[in-house]
């Protein structure tokens, strides 16, 4: 197993203590509940789209350090991105935390999100890291109102 400091990097701890964009979004046009039934983590993701672009994005909920920080950093990253770019980031991020790079890029686009690379050493925590991202995918594809990691 990996080193704890690889998992709990300073940036992650910082975002888990002080999550950014942690609020409900008025005039959100997408709202998706993400739920991890295994541990009870919940995230509600709010997205406002304009001209195919993420105009504003926020979240609320309760979860572990990994899921909270992941949601927080995701919302920071996504503001101003087109839905297409966002979907590509989903793939990149997913590849990063599962240790199976599958996106088209080489992960460089992820920028700060690369701090989550330690997660792949802790397979049981992958669902924590991807909960908000799955909610995002559902929000952008306009399908489900709620997603579950199970």
């Amino acid at each position: 197993m990996g080193d704890l400091r690889d998992l709990y990097q300073e940036v992650i701890l910082d975002h888990s203590r002080k999550p950014r964009n942690f609020r409900p979004l008025e005039r959100a046009d997408r709202r998706v509940e993400g739920f991890n039934p295994l541990c009870g983590d919940r995230v509600t993701l709010f997205v406002r789209l304009e001209n195919g672009e993420v105009r504003d994005i926020s979240f609320q909920g309760s979860g572990c350090a990994i899921s909270t920080a992941s949601a927080s950093m995701m919302t920071e990253k996504l503001k101003g991105k087109t839905t297409q770019e966002a979907m590509r980031l989903f793939d990149e991020f997913h590849g990063l935390v599962t240790g199976k790079p599958g996106g088209v890029g080489n992960g460089e686009e992820l920028g700060k999100l690369a701090v989550f690379s330690g997660v792949c050493e802790f397979p049981i925590r992958v669902k924590c890291a991807t909960l908000a991202w799955h909610a995002l995918k559902a929000a952008l594809t306009g399908g489900a109102q709620s997603v579950s990691t199970e």
């Binding site: 197993m1 704890l4 998992l7 709990y8 701890l13 203590r17 295994l38 541990c39 009870g40 983590d41 919940r42 309760s62 979860g63 572990c64 350090a65 990994i66 909270t68 802790f122 049981i124 925590r125 924590c128």
Partner: protein, 432 residues
């Protein structure tokens, strides 16, 4: 000669050849000797000696249980009942001997009242179906408590949906104790059954079940006890308790997974329709009419988990060799020490502070999710559980989505409790 007499006679021979459990009754509680009986404990996890504190989820198995399984499969395995050949007779004897051990373990009057099931979950589902079909109709009520495991909630919800009955839920106070006055008030002329946990898996609360049973019986209401956690920690005497049903899982009693015990009073079991239909639960079948078998076979359709029963029998021998009272006293000491020590960890709050507790310590830490506590402890070789423990309604009452839970077994040591406390210090450091 009845079937069960024949079986018991044959059983006496089979037993002599079965591997014996190590401990002798009455021997002093020798923790080092006990630990040697559990091979799985002698390993390192993530570079540290394993500290296994997830015993409420499942206990480890002593060598005696593993040996009994191996012995059964390498020597006696065959399908039971109706077999004229030697192996089938041995397997049948071993199975029925295990039933006798189970009977004696819960002190039932007769083996007819002791059913082998897969687990506590299956036992509760069996009662919900069979008792439910016979005794519960529209407008009736089933009384539970707020501290039930999902397996003692969902089968009743499903029954209520089928029959148009209603669930009543007795509340729990902030210490995690059942509020008896409210419980009594909720017992109504419509209550058909009370079903509650003997020892709460999420809080460690020991319920005053004898008092509860007598309250219910005064109104003619039968009681099912969920003994999943109690079985390995509290001596069970179903006659003294006078409970109507008692459910437990072998795997939480140092036995194999996939086997459990359901005790039921024969007066009740006799009047209930079978749960599953199939082979062995019938005495004769024609397409016009099927006659059901006697107890306990009426409730054991199909080929049972013979090896599991044999393994559970070995676990019962092992546990009784050490003595449930001795195990309970040991776990009380661990719990007392742990409660004191974790209380000194800053920002830690114990969830579940009932006056009567056993073997289980749930807690949360300020600003640190139980999941993160679990991962950081695991890195130090310490296995605990983080989550809602299948008791979401209870978590809601305590205002937490989840807790971290350390649960003790007979082989845990005070040094392991200290390792847990040191581990929590490390958790604090990571999040400092």
């Amino acid at each position: 000669m009845s079937g069960s007499e024949r079986i018991l006679k044959a059983g006496a021979q089979a037993d002599a050849s079965y591997p014996r459990s190590a401990p002798r009754p009455g021997a002093a509680f020798d923790i080092e000797a006990i630990r040697r009986d559990f091979p799985i404990l002698q390993q390192s996890v993530n570079g540290h000696p394993l500290v296994y504190l997830d015993n409420a989820a499942t206990t480890q198995k002593p060598k005696a249980v593993v040996d009994a399984l191996e012995h059964y499969y390498t020597r006696d395995n065959a399908n039971i009942h109706r077999g004229v050949h030697e192996l089938s007779q041995r397997a049948t004897a071993a199975y029925e001997q295990a039933r006798e051990k189970a009977r004696s373990f819960v002190n039932a009057r007769s083996t007819a009242e002791v059913l082998f099931v897969r687990s506590t979950t299956e036992a509760i589902n069996l009662i919900a179906h069979s008792f439910g079909a016979a005794r519960v109709s529209a407008g009736d009520e089933i009384l539970l408590t707020r501290m039930e495991h999902h397996s003692n909630i969902v089968p009743w919800q499903m029954l209520c949906e089928r029959q148009g009955a209603r669930l009543q839920v007795a509340p729990v106070n902030d210490r995690g104790e059942l509020i008896l006055e409210d419980f009594e008030r909720l017992l109504s002329p419509k209550t058909r059954l009370v079903s509650l946990v003997h020892l709460s898996n999420a809080l460690g609360t020991v319920n005053p079940v004898k008092e509860i049973i007598s309250l219910a019986h005064r109104r003619g209401v039968p009681v099912l006890l969920d003994g999943a956690q109690a079985a390995a920690r509290i001596p069970i005497d179903v006659q003294d308790l006078d409970c109507d049903f008692y459910a437990l899982s072998g795997h939480k009693l140092y036995g194999p997974t996939g086997i459990g015990i359901l005790y039921g009073k024969s007066e009740l079991l006799e009047t209930m329709p079978p749960f599953l239909g199939g082979g062995d639960m019938i005495s004769s079948v024609t397409f016009e009419k099927t006659l059901y078998n006697k107890l306990p076979n009426k409730f054991e359709a199909g080929t049972p988990h013979v090896a599991g029963a044999v393994g559970l029998g070995a676990a019962i021998d092992y546990v009784r060799g050490i003595g449930i009272e001795a195990i309970a006293a040991h776990e009380d000491e661990l719990l007392r020490h742990a409660t004191e020590a974790v209380s000194r960890v800053s920002g830690l709050r114990i969830i579940g502070t009932a006056r009567e507790k056993a073997g289980i310590l749930s807690f949360v830490m300020d600003g640190i999710h139980p999941h993160d506590i679990g991962t950081i402890l695991d890195q130090q070789g310490i296995a605990i559980r983080a989550g809602h423990h299948c008791t979401q309604p209870l978590m809601e009452q305590f205002g937490v989505p989840a807790t971290a839970r350390a649960s003790f077994g007979m082989y845990n040591t005070l040094a392991e409790v200290d390792a847990l406390v040191d581990g929590l210090g490390k958790v604090r450091e990571v999040f400092a």
